[in-house]
């Protein structure tokens, strides 16, 4: 993720996807050849309930321009309620981050099922465009030397 001044800047987005729905949705998007921007780097987790604030902030700290967290639709969680617990945590986190001045749109959440390939492509497009408009992330990015 080195900063390259000579090349045109492209947003880098870290996507935390749950194994059972959103990751499968991303997979289906690929198989179905839905075009979406190549700006996301996917990290697969068992459940959106596994995504902690530490991980999201670590992505920002390491220079990610945006973060997408995506899980199953409420009610469809493979572990019955993982995403319902997570939903409360995410709501509080996103509000807190905006409260300290992180731009709205840096950290995003979505519910995408295994069959929603088109929606997945759509969300990635939307997030990429939002982050592109925001420009490179500077807040909470660790700088050394």
């Amino acid at each position: 993720m080195g900063t390259t001044s000579d090349k045109k800047w492209e947003p880098k987005i870290v996507a935390f996807l749950c194994n059972w729905c959103s990751y499968a949705g991303a997979d289906l998007a690929g198989v179905s050849r839905f075009q979406y921007p190549p700006n996301i780097r996917i990290i697969r987790l068992p459940c959106s309930g596994r995504v902690s604030a530490n991980m999201i902030l670590d992505a920002l700290r390491s220079g990610a321009d945006g973060v997408l967290v995506s899980g199953c639709h409420p009610g469809d969680c493979h572990y019955i309620s993982g995403n319902l617990f997570a939903r409360r945590r995410f709501a509080l986190l996103t509000n807190l981050l905006e409260f300290v001045g992180i731009e709205p749109g840096r950290v995003n959440f979505s519910w995408i099922s295994a069959s929603e390939a088109e929606q997945f492509a759509q969300v990635v497009k939307e997030v990429t465009e939002t982050v592109r408009k925001l420009g490179p992330s500077t807040r909470l990015v660790k700088r050394i030397g």
């Binding site: 993720m1 080195g2 900063t3 390491s62 220079g63 660790k142 700088r143 050394i144 030397g145």
Partner: protein, 340 residues
């Protein structure tokens, strides 16, 4: 050594002159006495007593880069450490109280072989400011200092009457700085008399004498096993307020940080109050209990350090007394150790 007399304006002119070659830091008017890069004398707050943060932050910059290296695997010099380049810019630290100034030379003893500390000593010139009215939490005289002390300073400034200062050159490089003070005049005999009058008058009343000698004469293990540590430690919350604000707490941590092909090895202040300080990789912790850590901090300052280096590792600035969230008062600890 030079002895000059300044009024406010002359100091202002002098500092403006110095600012051409140095970055000048002083307790800031707008920041409740924390150190600020200043460009104008009017920004300086010399009334507020001991500044909130100790002068050690200039000698142990936070963080201090020890080494840098590349982490790009293709780079033939990958992971080969280099020393960081020095900008060459020097600082003048203005308004350092005698306690803080003294901490610089006390800390220099364990840092004898440390090139970074030595370089920082050369990089920072200290303009001291003596204390005409010590605070109630001050006890520098207990620990071998004095409100009028000059140890660790390059120049020592004393306000002999309102807005009128006498500056004494303490070191050669201090004298060189004073040579740039064109608006100042030679101090008269009268001024010097006033100065020595203050040296006699300004005092901190105490019944504590020979703290160092008495502590050194005590048996180390007897003090270590004293029962009072448990009472002192009971309310301690094991935060690092005392250690981070203490001018003579000099312990540090070394950390590696890497990002995007670049890496650095830094050191940062660390606190023996934290369990992590002594934790082994095996999980064993030689100072796993709060009372052990509290005892270690005081024993280090008041017994181990004087036994090794001759002085107690405390300058009596009173910051820990003032800012400890649970009011652990090192003066009481000293009394307990002295009478044990």
């Amino acid at each position: 050594m030079k002895v000059l007399k300044f009024d406010r304006q002359a100091i202002g002119e002098w500092l403006s002159k110095l600012a051409e070659d140095y970055d000048i830091y002083a307790p800031g008017e707008s920041s409740q006495g924390t150190w600020q890069l200043i460009s104008d004398y009017s920004q300086i707050d010399i009334k507020s007593g001991v500044p909130e943060k100790p002068v050690k932050n200039f000698l142990f910059p936070q963080p201090e880069t020890l080494l840098t290296f590349s982490t790009v695997p293709d780079d033939p010099d990958a992971f080969k450490p280099r020393e960081p380049e020095d900008s060459g810019r020097k600082n003048v630290i203005f308004g350092v109280r005698p306690c803080d100034a003294r901490s610089i030379s006390l800390n220099a003893m364990p840092y004898e072989k440390d090139t970074y500390y030595k370089a920082n000593m050369e990089k920072n010139l200290i303009i001291g400011l003596t204390c005409n009215t010590p605070c109630s939490t001050c006890f520098c005289t207990w620990t071998g200092g004095s409100p009028m002390g000059t140890e660790g300073c390059d120049i020592s400034l004393t306000e002999i009457e309102k807005d009128s200062f006498v500056a004494r050159g303490v070191t050669e490089r201090g004298d060189k700085l004073l040579c740039l003070a064109t608006a100042a005049s030679e101090a008269s005999d009268q001024d010097i008399e006033k100065l020595s009058g203050l040296e006699k008058d300004v005092a901190i009343s105490t019944d504590i004498t020979a703290l160092e000698e008495t502590l050194k004469s005590k048996d180390m293990m007897e003090l270590y096993n004293a029962p009072f540590w448990k009472d002192i430690a009971e309310r301690c919350v094991n935060c690092g307020t005392c250690t981070f604000l203490c001018p003579t707490c000099y312990c540090f941590d070394i950390q590696d940080e890497t990002l995007h092909g670049r890496g650095r090895r830094i050191r940062c202040q660390d606190s023996c109050m934290f369990p992590l300080f002594t934790l082994h990789a095996s999980g064993h912790n030689p100072r796993g209990d709060k009372v052990q850590r509290v005892r270690n901090r005081f024993m280090h300052k008041l017994k181990y350090f004087p036994d090794r280096f001759g002085s107690v590792s405390c300058v009596g600035c009173g910051r820990c007394v003032r800012d400890c969230p649970v009011n652990i008062d090192i003066r009481e600890v000293m009394r307990q150790m002295l009478t044990f």
